[in-house]
């Protein structure tokens, strides 16, 4: 052993190198306050190890980036841990860097003769920020995509060469394959290589000048090994433990695959850039333009920091005081803005709704990707585009929610509110729904509502302008054709025979009828009792009711009930009553949405706009109807919560408010 070391020492001088590395003097004794630089070096090493591993499984292109990261995160051995370590260590690095910088300024470690090393540190800081920025895009998920869009658009605000800078960064005029290959080359190639080079210089120069001793009389002098190394190692282990715990218990997030056609209202930069995001949101800053807020101000701040050694040189102790004041001010400002941004987001219902949708999409994308068919060649983004569970709510919100609601909300989980009246403050009142709530469309509850309490079931349409107008015209003695649940034959049937329908004698019959009607709608994720369905069918068609209902049947008016909905529906057999053939089924729904005004449906009494292919394409209609009829691969993703109670409560207080307003006006 000794021979080997001697042999190496003769040729390489290992003893001298080791001695230099380990026995550097630490005047005033080892201290915890000296550990920050070492934790940064350690975190970087951690990033190199985990980064190489991720590199071995990552595939940079718009159709494979999200997919390969999904594969790492959810299928590869320890993939979630490796990605989690990389994800959280990157954040730890930014925090540690900020602490390091603040400490260097407070202790005056930037002053002569260490100015150059201070500048090297600033270069390192820029490289680390560049790494975090380029890394954020690589998973090609909605979050990274939209956040990085903001960054590259800020680049375009660079004076004179903005457009060129942006094109170079993106690898073209728009985001695409080349954006990823270029970002990846920066992230895994140029930036880490530069970091290694500058870090070597930084440590070399640091060794040349030695520690900036805080208090030489704190303790007897010692050496780097083992006293300071022990403290450094403990600190680094603490960092490692923290990021490992986060990686295990809070696996790194992945939002849905990036889709330029899908809005992402939850876009935010990584949390340590939130302060800048919030700063740019100040109206005063916005008024001065993007270049001012996003380039000039940060540039000036970095300039002031870079000039700190000169400030201290020229102004002496006063300069050092100024520098310390500045760095504390910056730190306080950053913390304050970060807290402000987080607090505002937490209290912003729109942002929270967008976040909820983002999480729903993310979970669904991962669920579909891990399905038995895996990911098709056109990428995971197409899985979501073809998924009724994802697209249905969006289509509903876009096309249906101006009249209808879905469990009280707009399909995407948000309650719809009126515009706030000019001059008034406070919460805007909920908008009155003017058509049926379709959240339980085609279910037993829906059928039960129609059969047992038709008027109440369709009460929402009484809020509609056309309904009130028609009611006025009727009151004035005019003749208007319109759908009025309150004075319909169906209402007569349900109200006239309610007692018999609800009575013991027909309780089993009612249950059977509901089962039959629900089975006709055939929600794909419901199971039906065949015997009960058959009994219900007989009741509907033949009317084997007991008591007062005896002799009545659904088929008496709805003569096609029990038949399947025709493939090519026409009005030749229209009876003047809405067809109940396959009522609530996908075929019925598609035809109804296209032609609600056909005689087989509501005819001239209809007020719902007919959605032709120019408004709702075949594909979109299919997605919407499949969502409404539950025809999609089963999911464990939590759906938007039911908001009917909130809506009803809101509408009640709205009505009460309206009364108050009138009273106020009268006074």
């Amino acid at each position: 052993m000794k021979m080997l070391i001697d042999w190496m020492d003769d040729r390489l001088g290992v003893r001298g190198m080791l001695h230099e590395a380990l026995y550097e003097r630490v005047p005033g004794g080892a201290r915890w306050r000296y550990v920050w630089g070492s934790t940064l070096v350690f975190t970087f090493v951690l990033q190199v190890i985990t980064g190489f591993m991720l590199w071995s499984a990552y595939s940079p292109s718009t159709r494979t980036a999200w997919e390969s990261v999904y594969f790492i995160q959810h299928e590869m051995f320890l993939g979630s841990i490796i990605r989690g370590l990389h994800h959280y260590a990157a954040q730890a690095m930014v925090v540690l860097m900020a602490i390091h910088l603040v400490q260097v300024v407070i202790d005056g470690a930037y002053k002569a003769p260490r100015e150059v090393n201070f500048w090297l540190g600033i270069v390192l800081m820029m490289i680390v920020l560049g790494l975090s920025l380029t890394g954020y895009l690589l998973p090609w998920d909605q979050k990274g995509y939209y956040a990085t869009q903001v960054t590259t658009n800020i680049m375009s605000a660079t004076p004179l060469v903005g457009a060129e800078v942006q094109t170079l960064a993106q690898g073209g005029n728009e985001y695409g394959h080349l954006t990823l290959t270029r970002f990846f080359a920066m992230h895994a190639g140029l930036l880490p290589a530069s970091l290694v080079a500058f870090l070597a210089l930084h440590i070399m120069v640091f060794r040349r000048h030695g520690l900036t001793v805080h208090d030489p009389k704190y303790a007897p002098d010692t050496t780097f090994w083992p006293d300071q190394v022990l403290k450094d190692a403990v600190a680094c282990l603490a960092v490692l433990t923290a990021v490992l715990a986060l990686a295990v218990f809070r696996p790194a997030e992945m939002s849905a695959p990036a889709d330029p056609a899908v809005k992402f209202d939850a876009a935010r930069p990584e949390w340590y850039f939130l302060f800048l995001f919030r700063f740019l949101r100040f109206h005063a800053v916005e008024a001065l333009g993007l270049t001012f807020g996003a380039i000039i101000v940060p540039g000036i701040i970095m300039g002031i920091i870079a000039l700190m050694p000169l400030t201290a040189r020229v102004l002496g102790n006063f300069g050092h005081l100024l520098n310390r004041a500045f760095i504390w001010l910056m730190a306080a400002g950053v913390v304050a803005l970060t807290v402000l941004a987080a607090w505002e987001d937490a209290n912003d219902t729109d942002h929270q709704a967008a976040l909820a949708e983002s999480h729903r999409d993310a979970k669904r994308a991962i669920e579909l990707a891990s399905g038995p068919d895996r990911i098709p060649v056109d990428g995971a983004v197409s899985l979501l585009r073809r998924d009724p569970f994802t697209q249905g709510p969006r289509l509903f919100a876009q096309h249906c929610s101006s009249c209808h609601r879905w469990n009280g909300h707009d399909g995407r989980g948000s309650l719809i509110r009126d515009a706030i009246a000019a001059g008034s403050s406070g919460e805007a009142p909920f908008t009155l729904p003017v058509a049926a709530d379709l959240g339980n469309f085609g279910s037993r509850a829906w059928m039960n509502g129609i059969v047992t309490d038709y008027v109440q079931h369709f009460r929402w349409i009484q809020n509609a302008g056309w309904y009130q107008e028609a009611a006025r015209q009727i009151a004035a003695g005019e003749e208007v054709e319109f759908l009025d649940p309150a004075s319909s034959e169906m209402a007569d049937w349900t109200s006239g025979l309610t007692e018999s329908l609800q009575a013991e004698e027909n309780s089993e019959n009612l249950k059977a009828l509901i089962e039959f009607l629900a089975s006709e709608a055939g929600h794909a994720q419901q199971e039906f009792d065949p015997a009960l369905v058959e009994r219900g069918r007989e009741l509907a068609v033949d009317g084997n009711w007991a008591g007062d209902l005896e002799g009545t049947s659904c088929a008496g008016c709805h003569d096609t009930i029990g038949e399947p909905f025709p493939e090519t529906p026409d009005d030749s057999t229209a009876s003047g009553y809405p067809t109940m053939a396959g009522y609530g089924s996908a075929a019925w729904l598609k035809d109804f949405i296209r032609h609600p005004n056909a005689d087989r449906h509501y005819g001239s009494r209809n007020r719902m706009p007919a959605y032709g292919p120019d408004q709702l394409t075949e594909t979109d209609l299919d997605l919407l109807v499949r969502w409404m009829t539950g025809n999609y691969s089963p999911t464990t993703v939590a759906d938007y919560p039911n908001q009917l109670e909130a809506l009803n409560a809101g509408l009640a207080s709205r009505a009460a408010g309206a009364v108050t307003d009138t009273t106020a006006a009268e006074e």
Binding site: Y23, P27, F42, S56, G79
Partner: protein, 213 residues
């Protein structure tokens, strides 16, 4: 404060300092162990991750196959070829045929894509034999040489008879024969015209024929 330390540091001469602090052997040991852990923990985790191809349980095994190629594949893995027995020359000349199947490649499923090429040969009695066209030597493609009436690999000159047996010492084994089943409308029938083949690849450079799962 800073100046004094600078002077001190500059006085430290590397080799002229023989008195290493020897005290605190326990402290040195603890420091060494902790420092080792700092590298060992991420190193081990990373190393295990890199061994994923060996350590990961294949997920495709429990998924139900439902790719588009399934229409032409049975539960035992036999795949129906586009070519029929009647289309193969009766004089024993081999024909090359492309086989289609679904491929699971990491996160992707490629549906009904070419997965390989085989040589088909019809005997005088009407039976059909199939060979994987990959050379068992080192994985190049085996060609049919009309002049020599044999199979030949241009990479390292492996040669095989039309029955697949090796005819020189270069390949470790004969060409890899594949199970063939003649059928009519999917039902086994030795006079059937449909050709179904259980396609698979085998490890190269081994004397034994070992299927790659």
């Amino acid at each position: 404060m800073t100046n004094s330390s600078d002077e001190v540091t500059s006085e430290v001469a590397v080799s002229a300092q023989p008195d290493y602090p020897r005290r605190g052997i326990v402290r040195q040991a603890i420091t060494a162990v902790l420092s080792f852990l700092l590298v060992a923990v991420p190193g081990t985790l990373g190393g295990l991750f890199f061994l994923d191809p060996i350590l990961r349980r294949k997920k495709s095994a429990d998924g139900t196959d439902s790719g588009t190629a399934q229409a032409r594949k049975d539960s035992e893995g036999y795949i129906r070829l586009d070519v029929t027995r009647d289309a193969i020359p009766t004089d024993g000349t081999p024909v090359a045929v492309t086989v289609f199947d679904d491929i699971d490649d990491a996160w992707n499923r490629f549906s009904n894509v070419p997965v390989g090429s085989i040589w088909l040969r019809r005997s005088e009695s009407g039976t059909v034999s199939a060979f994987n066209s990959i050379c068992p030597h080192l994985g190049c493609s085996v060609n049919f040489r009309r002049a020599e009436n044999d199979f030949f690999c241009p990479c390292h000159t492996s040669a095989f008879g039309l029955d697949g047996e090796k005819t020189n010492q270069i390949p470790p084994r004969g060409m890899d024969s594949l199970d063939v089943s003649l059928r009519t409308a999917g039902e086994i029938d030795s006079d059937g015209s449909e050709i179904w083949v259980r396609f698979c690849n085998f490890r190269r450079a081994t004397a034994e024929k070992i299927e790659i799962q």
